[in-house]
């Protein structure tokens, strides 16, 4: 328990260090950099034109599907890490069977998505 806490103490210290460094790095230019005061300095850059239309719109729903499969996947793949650490050379073959079934299920997920045409990029699908 003590070691784990200390481990995360290290990690936390580095997180704080990173944030602190970023803050300092952004603060220094406030002191030593000249500033521009212009009518359009702080407006949105759009190739030199005045922006029109909103930038916050509903973007292609296609990405949503990718995100969905990913979530299913990422969690499942994480399960494999504890399995992998205890997966020893030689030993019982049914360990492999369990692993194979698990991975094949994941493959099935991809095959399903593939068959459903998630990976097909066609303008007409939109």
């Amino acid at each position: 328990m003590e070691t784990i806490l200390r481990d995360f103490g290290f990690v936390l210290a580095f997180v704080v260090l990173a944030l602190l460094f970023g803050l300092i790095a952004v603060f220094i230019p406030r002191l030593i950099a000249p500033r521009t005061v212009g009518a359009k300095t702080e407006s949105v850059y759009e190739c030199g034109m005045d922006p029109f239309g909103s930038a916050w719109i509903r973007y292609a729903a296609l990405f949503y599907l990718y995100a969905l499969i990913f979530i299913a996947f990422d969690v499942d793949v994480l399960y494999l890490f504890p399995v992998a650490t205890s997966y020893v050379r030689g030993g019982k073959p049914e360990e492999f069977l369990a692993l194979a079934v698990f991975v094949l299920l994941l493959v099935l997920a991809i095959a399903y998505a593939w068959g459903k045409g998630v990976f097909r990029w066609k303008y007409e699908d939109l």
């Binding site: 521009t36 005061v37 212009g38 034109m49």
Partner: protein, 163 residues
């Protein structure tokens, strides 16, 4: 539009920073007309502004140090040039590259309705490079003039001084 000085300004610090700025001038990816081709030729292998650290062409005006106005300023593009200049982060400089950017070049005639005679009518200019189009060496020289403006001395001895 104006550029205000920094909050803290020391002579030594400013000198050091100017030295750094002079050695890392990042131009903006902005070609207008004929001179833009010579600008591209300048960035290519033979002339290679990378030697002085001036090859990092940034497409976004927020991240670059100077703008090369390489071509004719028409009345339609003038507001764009001005907007881009205003959106650049200070300190910033402008090179008027070629006759068109200096005075309208060969496109000025009586009764013309579309050309602005010189980019300095729109934004302040630091270095003027004459020519139609100027050679790539001229652009390198302009960058060095800009460096000279910052540091106060020239990077290489001028030919006259050497010979």
């Amino acid at each position: 539009m104006e550029v205000r000085g920094p909050l803290i300004k020391f002579g030594v610090l400013e000198k050091l920073l100017n030295l750094a700025r002079a050695n890392s001038l990042w131009p903006m990816t902005f070609g207008l007309a004929c001179c833009a081709i010579e600008m591209m030729a300048t960035t290519a292998a033979r002339f290679d502004p990378a030697r002085f650290g001036a090859e990092v062409f940034r497409p976004s005006p927020r991240q670059c140090d100077f703008m090369i106005v390489s071509g004719t300023i028409t009345k339609k593009i003038a507001p764009v040039v001005r907007t881009l200049y205003e959106q650049m982060a200070a300190p910033k400089w402008v090179i008027a590259y070629g006759n068109c950017a200096i005075s309208g070049g060969p496109f000025v005639f009586e009764g013309q309705y579309n050309v602005i005679e010189g980019v300095d009518k729109v934004i302040p200019v630091d270095v003027y490079v004459p020519g139609c189009p100027p050679r790539p060496e001229a652009l390198l020289e302009a960058i060095m003039k800009l460096e000279e403006k910052l540091t106060g001395y020239r990077r290489f001895p001028t030919p006259e001084r050497r010979w």
